[in-house]
Chain length 391, copies 2
C-alpha cells in the first residue's frame, strides 16, 4: 500500500470539475491571478493559494490581500416574521440588533450541537443574511421556517463576498468608497455600490468590516454575480499602490489568531461551548430558539472539551497531515484531538489548535501528540496565541 | 486573461485536503489502486478515475468494476413514527413498501423542486435509509422530523457503499455470498455479512441489487467504517478471475443509459417531472408529503422543460466544458441547456443530456448548441439512448 505523503503545508489531490461544483463570480479572475489550489466549500470552488504561501502570509500581516470568498454563501430570510424566525434559528440574543449591524452567531441543532458559525447581517427592509461556513443551512432554514409556520421567504440570494484583509485594507477601502467607512465598527456594514467608470452602472454591494483574519479589513458582498470580474479588477487596480495581491483564508494566521474553522476544528458532536463560542450563546433569554434547553444544560454541566492552542516541540515534521485530525495523549490516555498544525513565523514555533478534555486544560500539564516517529511533547495555551507586539 | 482549457473528458484543478472534507473507508485502498482524480460529494472525497477512462468503461460494459461510492451517505430514520416521517419526506407512494425492498424516490421541497433522488431502503426493525445524492439531507430530515413532532431518531449511520458493477458482477457476488443472491430483484436487498477468514469476524453489510449504471450489479453497504480496506481487498481478490478492476460512476455509460445526476443535470428550480422522475411522483395519494400540492399543480400544468438526449454533429471539440452547462438554441432563441456531453463508444457518436423546453421536445426539430467555433447542430432523442444490441 502506498504511504500517505509526509507532513506538508498542503496535501493536494486532483479534483475533476463538474457542474455540481459551482464556480464563483471571481473564478476567471482568480485563475488569471494564478490560483493554484482550491477547496470545495458550500459546493463552490474556493481558491486556497496562488502558489506562494509565504508571500500570501506576508501580504496579510503587513500589507493588504484580496480573497475570493464567494463560497461563504448567504441564506436570506425576509418577510413579516423574519425577526422571530432568525432568532429561532440563532443561539444568540438578537433582541437589540439593529439595521446595519452584523453579529457572529452559532446556529445549533436540537441537542445543542453547532451546525454553523455565520456572521448574521440585519439589512434594510427587514431582511437578514446568514453568511455561512461550509454546511448547507438553506435546507435547514427552509424546513424550520415552513414547519414552524413563520411568514418568511428563505432563499440563497445572488451575493458573493470578496474580502480585502490586512493592515492597509482600510486605506484602500476608504479610497475606493469614502473616508466615512473608517468609522464603521467591527461587523457593521453599509448597503452601497462601487462606481467604476462614468458610463457604467455602479456595482451593487454591501460593505462590511469583517473577514476571516485578525488583521483587519472588509468584505464586499457583491450583489450581482455577473460583475465579479469587474469588482475584482477594480479592487486590484486601486490596491496596486498598497502592494495588494491575491490570497485566501490563511491557515497560519487563523491558527495564530485562534479563529474557528467550523467542520475542521469541530466535529458533528461539538457544542458552541467547546468551540470558543460560549459568550455568544444565550440560553436564558425569553425568546425560544433551537437547542435552547440543551444549551442551558450543557452550560450548567460545563463543556467536556475545550478548544485550546498547542505549542509543539520541534518543527512538526512527521506529525499532522493537513487532511485529518491527530490524537493528543497524556499519561498514555487519549485526551483530545489536534485539528490543525502550522509553523508560526511570528512566534517562531510550531503551533496547533485542538479540542482537549476540560480537566486536562484546567490542570495545564504538558501533553503528547502522535507522530510518525513517536510522541512529541506539547504545552497547552489559551487562544489566541500571544504574539510579539501584544496582539 | 487565461483562457479556460478546451473540451476534454475531465477538467482538473488541484484540491487542498482538509479535515472538513472526509475520506472514505476505502480511501487508502483507492489510492493504492491508483485513484488519480476525485470529486467532493456529500463532503467526502470520491474517486472519479484511476487514470484510464477507456479501460474503466470497458470493464463496466464487458466485465466487472468496483467503485468506492461511500460518498453516497445514508440518512437513517428509525422509531415509532418512521413510516409516517419517511412518507412525509418522500414524493412517492410508499404504502406497499416492505422490508428488504428499495425504491428510487424523489425528495422535494414545498414548491415541488427536487432536493435529492435517493434510493430508499426499508430495513428490519422499522429502520429506513435514504441513500443520497450530493445534498445534505441530514439537516433537512432532522428539522422536518423535529418540527412535525415525529417520534423518530434521524442520524447519519456508519454505512459506506462499495459498488460492484458490470455483466460479471452477479457471478462474482454469488461466489462471495451465495447463489441465492441471483434471485434478488432490482433494488431489493439482504442484511448479511461477508466472512473473509475463519479467525476474523464477518464484515457486516447490506447487499443490494443496485448501482449507478445500467450494466447490472450490486452495492455492498459496509456497516463498519474501520473495515473498508478489508472489504475492498476481499472483493478485489475474489474478482480477479473475472478481470475486476477499479472504476467509478462512469460519465459515458450514465449518459448513454440516461441516468440522472442530481445537481449536475438538474438546477435548483428543477421539478421531478423535468428530471425524468414523473412516474415516481404520486401527488394523488391520501398521505401528506412535502410538496404534494405543488407537484399536483405542476403535473396538471405539465412540466415546462424535459430532460432529453442530444445527438450532436461532429466530435464535440470546442463545445462543452465538463465544469459548466452550455446553452441550447433554436431559431436564435435559447430553448434549453446541455449538462453533459460525451463520446459514446457504443453509438460511435457524440451525445449529451440536457433540459429543453417541452414544446421544443414535442415538435422534435433539430436544435443548435453553442461552441467555441460557432453553432453545432444536434437532434433530440428520448432517453435512454437506443444502443446496439437493443438495451
Amino acid at each position: 500500500m502506498r504511504e500517505p505523503p509526509k507532513f506538508a503545508t498542503l496535501l493536494l489531490v486532483k479534483l475533476a470539475m463538474s457542474p455540481r461544483i459551482r464556480q464563483s463570480p471571481y473564478y476567471r479572475s482568480t485563475l488569471a491571478a494564478g490560483a493554484s489550489a482550491f477547496t470545495v466549500y458550500n459546493k463552490m470552488l474556493m481558491p486556497i493559494t496562488y502558489g506562494d504561501l509565504e508571500a500570501e502570509y506576508d501580504r496579510l500581516i503587513n500589507g493588504v490581500s484580496m480573497w475570493d470568498v464567494a463560497a461563504e454563501r448567504q441564506v436570506q430570510v425576509e418577510g413579516p416574521d423574519a425577526d422571530a424566525c432568525v432568532q429561532y434559528l440563532s443561539s444568540r440574543d438578537l433582541s437589540k440588533m439593529v439595521e446595519g449591524q452584523g453579529k457572529y452567531i452559532a446556529m445549533c441543532d436540537y441537542e445543542g450541537r453547532i451546525l454553523n458559525d455565520p456572521v448574521l447581517l440585519k439589512l434594510s427592509g427587514g431582511r437578514y443574511w446568514f453568511s455561512l461556513a461550509d454546511n448547507d443551512m438553506l435546507l435547514w432554514c427552509k424546513a424550520i421556517a415552513h414547519e414552524k409556520g413563520f411568514d418568511v421567504r428563505v432563499t440563497e440570494p445572488d451575493v458573493s463576498p470578496l474580502a480585502v484583509q490586512g493592515p492597509k485594507a482600510e486605506d484602500l477601502v476608504a479610497e475606493l468608497f469614502s473616508e466615512e467607512i473608517r468609522s464603521l465598527k467591527y461587523f457593521w456594514f453599509i448597503e452601497t455600490s462601487l462606481s467604476i467608470a462614468p458610463e457604467t452602472d455602479p456595482i451593487p454591494l454591501v460593505l462590511c468590516r469583517s473577514g476571516w483574519s485578525k488583521q483587519g479589513g472588509f468584505e464586499l458582498f457583491l450583489q450581482d454575480g455577473s460583475r465579479g470580474d469587474e469588482l475584482w479588477e477594480a479592487v486590484a487596480a486601486a490596491g496596486q499602490k498598497y502592494g495588494i495581491g491575491p490570497g485566501a483564508p490563511n491557515a497560519v494566521e487563523r491558527v495564530e489568531s485562534g479563529l474557528l474553522s467550523w467542520g475542521g476544528d469541530t466535529t458533528p458532536d461539538s457544542s458552541p461551548y467547546e468551540a470558543m463560542m460560549g459568550k455568544y450563546v444565550h440560553p436564558h433569554i425569553e425568546a425560544d430558539f433551537i437547542g435552547k434547553a440543551a444549551l442551558a444544560r450543557i452550560a450548567a454541566e460545563g463543556p467536556k472539551r475545550l478548544m485550546v492552542g498547542l505549542i509543539v516541540e520541534g518543527d512538526g515534521a512527521g506529525m499532522l497531515m493537513s487532511d485529518r485530525r491527530t490524537a493528543i495523549y497524556q499519561d498514555g490516555e487519549q485526551v483530545g484531538t489536534l485539528a490543525a498544525l502550522v509553523k508560526s513565523p511570528r512566534l517562531g514555533k510550531t503551533i496547533g489548535l485542538g479540542q482537549v478534555r476540560t480537566e486536562v486544560v484546567e490542570a495545564g500539564d504538558p501533553v503528547e501528540v502522535e507522530s510518525q516517529t513517536g510522541w512529541v511533547g506539547a504545552s497547552l495555551t489559551s487562544l489566541p496565541f500571544t504574539l510579539p507586539g501584544g496582539t
